[in-house]
Symmetry: C2
Amino acid sequence: MISYETSQNMVSLLPIGSQKSERVFLSAALGRILAEDIVACEDYPLHPTSAMDGYAILHSDLAEFDSLLIMGDNPAGADSIGHVTSGMCIKTFTGSLMPQGADTLIPIENVRVQEGEIVIEKSVPLGFAVRPVGESYRANETLIAKGSSIGFAQIGVLAGINQVMVRVSQRPRVSIIATGSEILDIGEEARHAGQIRSSNSYTLEALVTQLGGEPVQMGIVGDDKNAIMERFEEALASSDIVVSTGGVSVGDYDFVKHIVPRLGAEVIFKGVNIKPGQHVMLAQRGEKFIVSLPGFAYSSTVTCILYVAPLLARMMGCVNPYEPIEATLKVPFAKRSNKSEFTACNLSFEDGRYWVDFEGKKTGSSAILTNLLGDAGLMICGEEDGDLEAGTLVRVVKL
Amino acid sequence: MISYETSQNMVSLLPIGSQKSERVFLSAALGRILAEDIVACEDYPLHPTSAMDGYAILHSDLAEFDSLLIMGDNPAGADSIGHVTSGMCIKTFTGSLMPQGADTLIPIENVRVQEGEIVIEKSVPLGFAVRPVGESYRANETLIAKGSSIGFAQIGVLAGINQVMVRVSQRPRVSIIATGSEILDIGEEARHAGQIRSSNSYTLEALVTQLGGEPVQMGIVGDDKNAIMERFEEALASSDIVVSTGGVSVGDYDFVKHIVPRLGAEVIFKGVNIKPGQHVMLAQRGEKFIVSLPGFAYSSTVTCILYVAPLLARMMGCVNPYEPIEATLKVPFAKRSNKSEFTACNLSFEDGRYWVDFEGKKTGSSAILTNLLGDAGLMICGEEDGDLEAGTLVRVVKL
């Protein structure tokens, strides 16, 4: 079995083909990954603009005159902006272009209006409350880099440059296949006690959605070689990644591990020295990937985070949101194996640091999905690590 | 003007009426807020279940026999699970129910199969690899608390208990009105230089969506009292919160601040000692709220985060995702006013802590939305604070 670190290197080096992009309306761009640099095509603002409500003046007049004649007003959005000459001013509002000739805005609060004139009560420096040309950005400046996730600020900036259509990374299609004759689908009535309610398919669908992929539910297939083979072929034909659960262990009915190589896929690795999920398998056929995860709920979720998340991030050209961060252990931790362990923990943020503890987390098999509820993380304890003392700095995947 | 702290207290004390919930399919529940406690109705697993591939045995036999007769196998999902008696074993796979009588699973790796018998090469403790009844949870245990955000783990746990429909908080409808005669909508052709491309409506729509609200675009309305009044009435009739931008400052065309009280709304506050956004106004009419934000892009975005986010969180009964966290200043910070300042910063995570710096951030007016791009935060510098030294622990809203 290869080490966790080796498996991650292999994922980071996989040939993933060219990135696929598409143009979407701005309204559909939230949460997507930008597939092009966004470059300003002109300065913003393009003209000097008032940043307050007040009077546009020539700054040199402040030394010469006590009062200035009001020549009219210049509401925001007006077509004609007027012209200020010495001894004069034009009332100008937030967001209005500055009248020609004026270089400074004296705020309403700094003057007294008297018989068509303003009396200056408090001076301001040259250029006060004037947004200069290019205050926000200059023409040809890269505003948002390719690979950025599009959040509210990106949406606002794109709207501000009138970008109705945006080029984003296509969402890789991820087919999800659950294998196992014991699996009972949601909503289906149980026939006997040996059936186990499906959760993997739905956990993985949600995870794939949150990671920016487009999940395709292929449903449950029992422990039947031909049926599994057909379902995988169907999935490969219609998606970029096939994620399966179950059938990779050492049991007599674990057919997935035998079938994947027979699909003409090259096995990149089979078995990683991790806990949970040691039987995880990664294969490639052309530009498509097969990630076969173990069947237990906790194992399949963790291995999806460890292997599908970085693969999706690479395909979309963005950062993997599940990169580990540093946190401090609040309590001692007893290592259970000589593998890299990914242990469900509580992750809290106090006194400027993340803290790890295990209060309320259950120990037992790799089936305990409830351990991932709440403000949870996956604490990483390396192959070479032993027991850890309270206060140790550890790496944690924040969920 | 009231202080920032007072304004936040006022928001936290607003009478918001009863929480509204709805039932949605599990497939639509991702990202929603749970409106009921999810309580287990039975133990899980309900029967002792095998956690590995191996042979189900009586542990007491390990001391008595060197080999055990294989009585058949028990694949996962089988209806009949068999019965193990002394001297016998049944081959049992991951996810299978344990046969009756058996109390321990001896893994495949620990035995040698020989003439229909297993020869035990390595013993295991009592109960090994058996998931006991209730390993994951017990009947009547609260699995997920009301108010939790539904992520992938919650989806998996809900699927596992066969919860097809889930009660979630309704998404409050948030109407967005942009006011200002200078505002040019996205896609619209400019007629003259005094027009400014709309970004606020789209920034706020994205923000409201990310906060779990349901945005309703009411469009742009010029600086015309009657038109503004009508648009507000229409918005109030069809939404829970009306968010407007512009028209709250001291200019002659700032009509929003005069109109809101004339809508029969009670003004909760008008003006907060913050920078940016000091003219922000909050009003209530019945169970509906009006949040009137300033018109500049940076101001409206920041004040939406400061006032709309906690209001939405209260209406949905969840945690405000924009609660400040602690970070360390990397560089000195010069305070610019005697207000509570919310300054756009870079927020990085290194050596187990969040760090604040201002590299690449532009200073100037409150119009610079691009300062919120990238891994940005809003550093809070309190009313009473002065300049801050590098190394100071500060509060930051992580965006």
